[in-house]
C-alpha cells in the first residue's frame, strides 16, 4: 500500500511528440489536422509556436498566426525570422502600423534582409507615408532590385511625381513586358495627367496580355468617351458591365453612350425605349 504522504506526479511527455505529429501531417498536406495536433500543449515551446504560426499562415488564419509569432518574439526577442513573419501576418490582418514595427525590428536584427525592407515599404505605402516608403525601397540591395523598383514607381506615382514614376514603370516593363500591374498603374497615371494617347496605348497593351482586364477596358472607354466616339464607348462599357455588373460608372456610361448614339440617329430616346420595354414586360 502506498503511503499517504506520497503525491502522484504525472510525467508529461513534452511537446516534441506533438511537433513531430504536426510536421508529419503538414508534410502530407493535412494542415487542419496538423494545427489540431499542436493545440493544448502543456508547456510553452517557441518552436511549437513557430510551427503553429507557419500552419496558421498557410491556412490563411493570419490573426491567429500573428498571435503565435507574437508569443515567439516575446520569448525570443532576437529572432529576426519570427519578427519578419509577424510583420507578414500583421500586414495580412490589415495592421499596417504594427507590421511596420515588426519589419523594423527584423531589420534592426538583420539589416541585410531585403524581404523585410520590401514588406516595410509596402506597409508604408498603405499608411501614405510615401517619402519613407520611397527611402525604404531605395535602401534595398541589388538582389531585390525588381520589386524595389516597382515599390519606388508606386511611391513616386502617389507622390504625384508622374514623370519619374512613368520612367520607373517603363524600366520595369523593359525587363518584364507582361507586368499587368505596371500597365494598370500607368493607365491610372495617364488618366490623372489626362494623356489620352498614352491611356489608349497602355490599355491596348494590357488588353493584349489580359483580354478581360477591366482596367484596360475602362481606360479605352475613358478615351472613347472623352473623344466622343460613342460607338466605341458603348462597346467598351458593354464589356465592362458584363465583366463587372456592380460597376455603376459602367452602366451609367453605357446609357450615356447609347443615348448619344440614338440622338445622333434621331431615333427614339433610349429612356423612352426602356419605358416601353418595361411596360411590355408588365
Amino acid at each position: 500500500m502506498q503511503p499517504s504522504n506520497i503525491i502522484e506526479i504525472s510525467v508529461q511527455p513534452g511537446v516534441q511528440p506533438q511537433i513531430d505529429t504536426a510536421l508529419g501531417l503538414r508534410a502530407a498536406g493535412r494542415l487542419d489536422e496538423a494545427l489540431r495536433a499542436l493545440a493544448n500543449s502543456n508547456e510553452y515551446n517557441p518552436y511549437l509556436y513557430t510551427i503553429r504560426g507557419e500552419i496558421e499562415f498557410a491556412l490563411g488564419y493570419f490573426h491567429d498566426a500573428a498571435l503565435s509569432y507574437f508569443a515567439v518574439v516575446h520569448s525570443e526577442p532576437d529572432n529576426a525570422d519570427a519578427h519578419y513573419n509577424l510583420g507578414l501576418c500583421l500586414q495580412r490582418s490589415d495592421r499596417w502600423d504594427a507590421s511596420c514595427q515588426a519589419f523594423e525590428r527584423a531589420l534592426s536584427l538583420d539589416p541585410g534582409r531585403d524581404a523585410a525592407r520590401l514588406g516595410l515599404g509596402a506597409s508604408l505605402l498603405y499608411l501614405n507615408r510615401l517619402d519613407q516608403a520611397l527611402a525604404t525601397f531605395h535602401r534595398c540591395s541589388e538582389a531585390a532590385q525588381g520589386p524595389a523598383a516597382f515599390g519606388k514607381a508606386v511611391a513616386l506615382q502617389l507622390l504625384h511625381r508622374f514623370g519619374e514614376a512613368e520612367i520607373a514603370y517603363e524600366a520595369l516593363l523593359a525587363s518584364d513586358p507582361d507586368s499587368t500591374e505596371a500597365l494598370s498603374n500607368l493607365i491610372a497615371l495617364n488618366v490623372e495627367t489626362n494623356d489620352l494617347d498614352r491611356v489608349r496605348d497602355y490599355s491596348q497593351r494590357l488588353l493584349k496580355i489580359s483580354a478581360q482586364s477591366p482596367v484596360a477596358l475602362q481606360g479605352l472607354a475613358t478615351v472613347a468617351l472623352k473623344r466622343e466616339d460613342h460607338h466605341a464607348a458603348a462597346r467598351y462599357c458593354d464589356r465592362i458591365v458584363q465583366l463587372m455588373p456592380d460597376c455603376l460608372e459602367g452602366w451609367h456610361n453605357l446609357r450615356v453612350s447609347l443615348e448619344r448614339i440614338l440622338t445622333a440617329f434621331s431615333a427614339p430616346k433610349p429612356v423612352a425605349v426602356g419605358a416601353e420595354l418595361a411596360s411590355e414586360v408588365k
Binding site: 517557441p46 518552436y47 513557430t50 510551427i51 507557419e54 499562415f57 525570443e76 532576437d78 529572432n79 519578419y84 507578414l88 500586414q91 524581404a115 520590401l118 514588406g119 515599404g121 509596402a122 505605402l125 531585390a144 520589386p147 516597382f150 515599390g151 508606386v154 506615382q157 502617389l158 500591374e181 505596371a182 494598370s184 498603374n185 491610372a188 497615371l189 488618366v191 490623372e192 482596367v215 475602362q218 481606360g219 475613358t222 464607348a233 458603348a234 458593354d238 458591365v241 460597376c247 455603376l248 460608372e249 452602366w251 451609367h252 456610361n253 453605357l254 446609357r255 450615356v256 453612350s257 447609347l258 443615348e259 448619344r260 440622338t263 430616346k269 433610349p270 429612356v271 426602356g274 420595354l277
Partner: protein, 116 residues
C-alpha cells in the same frame, strides 16, 4: 449593334433613378459621363513576401555576462551641500577590462572588471 440593343434594357435597369437624365427634351442639358475609378495598386510586392519556415528548434544564443557593473544611481544633492561634499568626496572608477583586437577594436574580456 444587336448586342448593343440587347444590352440597352440591362443598361437602364440598375439606374432606375433618373435625376440626371437629360434626354427628355431639346432644351435640357446633356448628361455627362462619369469618370471610372483607377486605383494604384502594388500587389506585385506581396508576391515577394513569403514567410520563412523554421528549419528546426532555434538554438538559444548565450549572451555574455555584462562587463560593466550596475551601480545604483543616487539622486543629485542640493547645490549648497555640493561644495562640502566635494571636499570629502572619495572617488573610484570602474573600468571594464577590454582586449584590443588586431583591427584596433575592443572586445570585452571574460571575467570580473577590476577596480583601479
Amino acid at each position: 449593334m444587336l448586342k448593343l440593343l440587347l444590352a440597352m434594357s440591362g443598361a437602364f435597369s440598375p439606374l432606375t433613378t433618373r435625376e440626371n437624365s437629360a434626354a427628355e427634351g431639346p432644351g435640357q442639358a446633356v448628361e455627362q459621363a462619369r469618370d471610372f475609378h483607377f486605383a494604384v495598386t502594388w500587389v506585385t510586392l506581396f508576391a515577394h513576401l513569403d514567410p520563412i519556415e523554421a528549419a528546426g528548434p532555434r538554438r538559444r544564443v548565450e549572451t555574455p555576462a555584462p562587463t560593466l557593473a550596475l551601480v545604483p544611481v543616487v539622486a543629485a544633492p542640493l547645490t549648497e551641500h555640493r561644495a562640502e561634499q566635494r571636499a570629502r568626496a572619495a572617488w573610484e572608477m570602474v573600468v571594464p577590462k577590454m582586449i584590443r583586437s588586431g583591427d584596433g577594436n575592443f572586445t570585452p574580456a571574460v571575467g570580473e572588471p577590476k577596480l583601479l
